[in-house]
Symmetry: C2
Subunit: 221 residues, 2 copies
Amino acid sequence: MSESTDNYLKAIFAISQDQNEGALTTVIASRLSTKASSVTDMLKKLDEQGLVKHRPYYGTSLTSKGRKQALRVIRKHRLWEYFLVEKLGFAWNEVHDIAEQLEHIESDDLTTRLEAFLGFPKYDPHGDPIPDDAGNMPPDRKTIAASTMKKAEAYQLVAVTDSSNLFLQHMKNLNLSIGSKLLLKEKYPFDESLTVTSGHSTIHLTKEVAANLLLIKAAKK
Amino acid sequence: MSESTDNYLKAIFAISQDQNEGALTTVIASRLSTKASSVTDMLKKLDEQGLVKHRPYYGTSLTSKGRKQALRVIRKHRLWEYFLVEKLGFAWNEVHDIAEQLEHIESDDLTTRLEAFLGFPKYDPHGDPIPDDAGNMPPDRKTIAASTMKKAEAYQLVAVTDSSNLFLQHMKNLNLSIGSKLLLKEKYPFDESLTVTSGHSTIHLTKEVAANLLLIKAAKK
DNA sequence: GTAATTATTTAGACCAGCCTAATTTTTTAT
DNA sequence: ATAAAAAATTAGGCTGGTCTAAATAATTAC
């Protein structure tokens, strides 16, 4: 399993996640910043190895073998992100590229020891679930977008839907992070923006921002 | 800088360490388990990049740029080894191959944070010195081989000269590890073996083993 | 239903890093 | 000093993964 193989499997997994159904060649290409012809070549090889099922114009999907491998890589990526933030003190918007390298380290023993060392975390610093050794995701948290917050209810920010550095940086500027406790203060129907309080500060969330923040109801405090 | 480049630089560095003077092509080849012709190819490229100075039949040596890069890789390798043993609980003879992968992760920020997280260790689990950020090795400890131990003197095992898995495994069987406190009990001139005590147990060291154990004088206890 | 657009594949090439086989250069032995 | 041995290099080829340019297939627009 080369690093390139891992990256293709991860990309196909991610694409099949949000847009349901198979991943189109062009979509894979754009996600991996590569050319469609390269993707065609590679998919042929992955298909031969039994990792994906490739059907032109319809989409490529992972076989169970491919999905298992993709989950292994995602597991490693998220555990390392957790390590980088919780143990080494990185800001959560700085860790992606490093985790992108660490996820390719091969050693099951390392992965299980790392997981134990970290205290068996279930979600990474972006709020994404960490698969267990068998590839099972932790139970879903019933999250709501910040845009649907209600007054007099306490919330906790547990995940974001946009993990781009641009958005992560914006959150940092707003002084928001995973774990922040939020209360709705005001809603502005005109532009669908809202203000919330987090601790002692008040934060204004535009419609675009609010849509990307996932919350759970929290014990009032 | 590719992983392959790193590995060549490391190999040349290590060879120049023990056998003084430049590394011969065949020696590099055998150390990297590759063929002499491949080494020739690669040395040409490294020379063009200003990382090594290659002189046929005489030996290849690192330029200061090459040495700097080699030390960066060695630094990462040894910090990761320390991490694997001290934080993840690996046995010290299990960590080499994993560190061999981790050493190629690119991020100076990661390296400095890791170093701080580990408490600025000066020696790795095999007793090898860890270069600092600028490539400086910690001050030499004046070690002696176990074969020159004297009675009524307390010693501590701080390093080994053979880091092969075979030797490391043997040490584990003997119940010896870095940090062990040793006292000479008896010397047997016939086969140059000796017996030492470590805590409450007595250990018999053959000539071959004793030559590979490096000790410092320790406070008596 | 034909034309235009979009998606995909093929053909041929490149690069890093490795290989084998053959050859050349240097060193060593006698 | 010459022959044998050792060290190094060259020539040519392979693989994985990528690319560009050209060709083909499917979808969509009208």
